[in-house]
Each structure stands twice: as C-alpha cells, then as structure tokens.
C-alpha cells in the first residue's frame, strides 16, 4: 500500500459505558473507497465523529496524513445525511458551498473572485453548477446531496467522510450521488469512508467493507466480509447472507438493542 492517508491504530471507543468497538485497526489508502456498515448503534457514525475529533478515544490513535487528528481539519470533507436544514433552508447554494471553503474562519464574508471560481469548480465536479444561484431548500433531496458533495470537496480534502448520504433518496438518486462520490475518489485520489445502512447501492464501487457489530469488526473485500460464516462469527448468532440478482440481503442480524432482525433490502 502507498502511504495511507488515514491510519487508525488499536482504537477503542466507549460511549455511556457501552464499548462500541475495540482494538480497531484500519489503514486507508488515497483514493480508496470503504463502506462502513453494521446495525443501528454499532458505532458507525461515532467512528466518523472520532475521526473528526469530536469524540475522544479510550485508547489508540487516529492519524491523518501522518499527523494526529484534531478538531476541525480542512483535509477532511464531510457529507451529512440528507435532511432539510432546520435553521434556514433559504440559503443560496453557492453560499452554502462557500461555507465549506472557509466558513470556519473568523472575519467577514467578502465577495471574492478566487473563492467564486473554487465554488463553481466544486459544483461542476458534483454536476450541480446549474443550482448555484438557487435556494438550497428548494432543491430535491438528490440535488441537495450533490450540493453537499460540492461543499465537502471545495476545500480539496484528502479524506471524505460520508454519513448516510443516501438515506431518504430514491434508488435512482442513490445511484447518481454514490457515482459522483466514487468519481471524486478516483479523479482526485480522495479516500472515502462511506457510512451506510444499505451496502447495495455502493456494492460495485467499494474497495473494502468495514463491518461493525456487537463491539467486533471485520474488514475486507465485500466477498470476504459479507458471507454467512463471517457475519455469524461477528454477531455470535446465526446470520444468513443471501445474494439475489447482485444484491445482498442479511437476514437475522440483530441490532444492539435487540430489535428483531434488521433486514437490508
């Protein structure tokens, strides 16, 4: 492997007395696309928060580009779940993308040709340049996620963290959005950690899968990890992985909270 962009070594995370995962080891190469999957409460989103420096590990360390991670890093782009902006949906798309460039800095916003060029370029990469002068709140869910991609890549990050970016989208939009993220990973050598509860929309794009369950984890290609044997071992209860027309369905996997088997479809 070339020099990994993200290194997670022996990481253990406990939240409110519950160990989400322990001794987690993961090296992510530039341009690598990794899907992070697992049941609700298995610590997928918490993994992203730990990488963003928002959650402190109990032990172990996370390094980005060889440096220990801290709070706020312009080498990391973040794509949230699609949902209406609570506070104000009445924001210009180009302004929202510009926040991704330097919104965390102090001072006043001034019109800038250089910033505008970068914003337009990022929107172009996300096939969203037509939305630049529209209100974010008036876009469809899929269009909003394309703007989110532009916002995340405008600072030219080396790592993209995607937190359920496809949920609440229809299948066609899921395809469009995930393809755009994959294209970004390829063209700019951006590593991608893609948290999703359904692996199917990104199954042909992922290089590796990180499966989290019951405080344990498994890493490997989809064919290595998404098997009945591997998941049965991971969950400690019988789990069936069914493959049908290129789609994967996991049957019998229980959430941590012991809901009846969560089924992907």
């Amino acid at each position: 492997m070339t020099n990994p962009i993200l290194q997670i070594h022996n990481a253990t995370l406990t939240i409110e007395g519950r160990q989400l995962w322990s001794e987690l080891n993961l090296d992510v190469a530039p341009g690598e696309f990794i899907a992070v999957i697992g049941s609700n409460g298995s610590g997928k989103t918490s993994l992203l928060k730990a990488i963003l420096g928002q959650l402190k590990l109990d032990s172990g360390e996370i390094k980005l580009d060889g440096e220990p991670i801290g709070l706020g890093n312009s080498n990391i782009g973040y794509i949230p779940q699609q949902r209406a902006l609570e506070e104000a949906s009445d924001v210009l798309v180009s302004d929202l993308v510009r926040f991704g460039l330097a919104g965390h800095k102090l001072g006043f916003f001034l019109p800038s040709i250089k910033a505008k060029k970068k914003v337009i370029e990022a929107l172009r990469c996300a096939d969203a340049e037509d939305f630049a002068s529209r209100s974010f709140g008036k876009l469809s869910g899929g269009e909003q996620q394309r703007v989110r991609i532009a916002q995340a890549i405008v600072s030219e990050p080396k790592l993209l963290l995607c937190d359920e970016p496809l949920s609440a989208l229809d299948m066609q939009q899921q395809q469009i959005v995930s393809t755009l993220i994959k294209r970004e990973a390829k063209e700019h050598e951006t590593a991608v950690l893609f948290v999703t509860h359904d692996v199917n929309p990104v199954l042909d794009m992922v290089d590796r899968v990180l499966y989290l369950a019951n405080g344990r984890f498994s890493i490997g290609s989809p064919d290595e990890v998404l098997t009945s044997e591997m998941l049965t071992k991971l969950y400690g209860t019988p789990v069936d992985v069914l493959r049908n027309q290129g789609r994967i369905v996991v049957v019998g996997a229980t959430d941590h909270d012991h809901h009846p088997g969560e089924v992907w479809h």
Partner: protein, 277 residues
C-alpha cells in the same frame, strides 16, 4: 392639534444629534444581528430577553442605580441562561416562555413601587430616545460599536454555525461557543435597543429588518446589507419623523420597519408569480 409640525426642525435636529447617532449605529447593528436571529430561529428569544432586560432596568430604577446597567444585567442573565441551556430551538423556546412572564412580573412590581415620574416608567416598555441625555447616548454608542466589532469579527463562523450547524461542527466550529457568543451579543444589543424603542418593540429592530431582507434575497452578502439598510431607514427615519410630532419615537420606528416588511413581502409574491408564470 396636528400630529406633525416641522417648524424649528433644524434646531431640534441639533438637540437630538447624539440620539440620531445612536439610532444610526443601532440600525447597522440591528440589520446584521437580525440576520443571525432569523437564521438561528431565535425571534422568540429576542422577545423573552427584552422582557428580562426590562425587569433589570425597572429594578435598578427602583433602587436608584443606572437604568442602562440594569437593562444590561437583566438581558445578559436571560441571554446566558437561554444560550447555555440549549442550542436547539425547541427547548430554547420553552425556556424563553418560562422566563418571559417572570421577568415582566418583576418589572411591573418594581415600577409599581417606584415613586418617581410615570413617564420614565412607561418609556422602558415603549421607548423614548428623545429623552436620552448626551452621557447616556455616549454609553449606548460605545456599547453598540463594541458589539458591532465583535459581531463582524466572528461573522463568518457565526453564519456557518447558524445556517449549517452539522457541517460547521464537522469543520471544528464549536456550536456551543457560537451560541454563547451570539447570546451575549444579542443580550447587550437588546439592552441598548430597550433604551430606544422599549422592551415591547425591540423585535422591530432585531427581527423585522432581516425578515424583510430574506423575503427578497437568499444571498449571504446582499441579505445582511439589505437588512442593515432597512434597519437604519427604520431607526433614523422613524426618529426624524418623530421630531416633528408630539408622539413618542417608537410608533414611527415600528411603522417604518413594518412598512418595509410589507413591501418586501409583496415583492416576493410578485417574483414568485413571475417564476410560476
């Protein structure tokens, strides 16, 4: 007796120059701050804090201390309680609704016990900038300019945290710190506003200008500038109108502010119709 009488206008103008300056700076401040207020969905908090600010001013008036200081103490307490208690709009609203009648009650109690002139009691609720003396005007100016500088310093981060909190947090912006900074600046601004338009009418300077601006633009550059223009027009224009009248300044400010909002509302509807057509 006519409502307007503009004889001796030049002489009056000289007398109220300090008050006009306060109105001008307050307009700039109100335009910018109202933008953040709308983005953070905090209109109700503005109203609640102004009642507590009124209570502080009334209590200080009763015990013979400085009214501006009292207003500041009251609004800062309220702002910090609301700001620290929650960054989320829903629990912030219930907290505000609990604090508001309590503050108003204390204020009314203090005013009932106050033996002085009735007009100074009334002005805390409905405002009267013309009664502001020169020293008080300078105090208000200094506070307003300090708030303005602080707001401009943190402007970009404040907008990011207000408009897009989730991604802002991912980029290392502390939502809690921004929330507390916002509440401190808001509390101070309300304490100043109360001296001018009174506790009941603060919303016309700290909410209406940006609410009007956002009817006609979504831009993060044009919007705040437009809100500043609206707020300055309302504050300074309202005061200039009131000089030729025996009526207090606040109805003029609130009417101008409201008229601007109505115009923006109509423009928005026309724009929407054109888009749909």
């Amino acid at each position: 007796m006519p409502i307007f009488d503009f004889t001796d206008y030049a002489l009056l103008l000289q007398l109220v120059l300090p008050s006009l300056l306060v109105a001008l700076v307050l307009g700039v401040l109100g335009g910018l701050l109202s933008t953040v207020v709308i983005h953070r969905d905090s209109s109700f908090a503005v109203h609640g804090i102004s009642e507590l600010s009124f209570a502080g001013a009334a209590v200080f008036l009763l015990i013979g201390l400085d009214v501006v200081l009292g207003a500041t103490v009251g609004s800062m307490l309220a702002a910090l309680i609301i700001g620290i208690s929650s960054t989320r709009s829903r629990s912030r609203n219930s907290m505000t609704a609990v604090l508001m009648p309590f503050g108003l009650g204390i204020g009314i109690l203090a005013l009932s016990l106050y033996p002085g002139r009735a007009s100074s009691k009334f002005s805390l609720l409905t405002g009267s900038i013309v009664s502001i003396g020169d020293t008080k005007a300078i105090t208000l100016l200094v506070i307003s300019i300090l708030i303005l500088i602080a707001l401009l310093f943190t402007w970009r981060r404040m907008l990011f945290a207000s408009v897009d909190p989730q991604v802002a947090q991912a980029r290392g912006v502390s939502l809690r710190i921004q929330s507390v900074i916002f509440m401190i600046l808001l509390g101070l601004a309300i304490a100043v506003c109360i001296q001018v338009v009174g506790a009941l009418l603060v919303l016309s300077l700290l909410v209406t200008p940006a609410a009007a601006a956002m009817r006609v633009t979504s831009s993060q550059f044009v919007g705040p500038l437009l809100a500043v223009l609206f707020a300055v027009t309302a504050a300074v224009g309202g005061m200039l109108l009131s000089l030729g009248s025996f009526l207090p300044v606040s109805p003029f400010i609130t009417t101008v502010s409201f008229a601007i909002y109505i115009i923006c509302f109509i423009i928005q509807k026309i724009n929407q119709r054109n888009v749909n057509a």
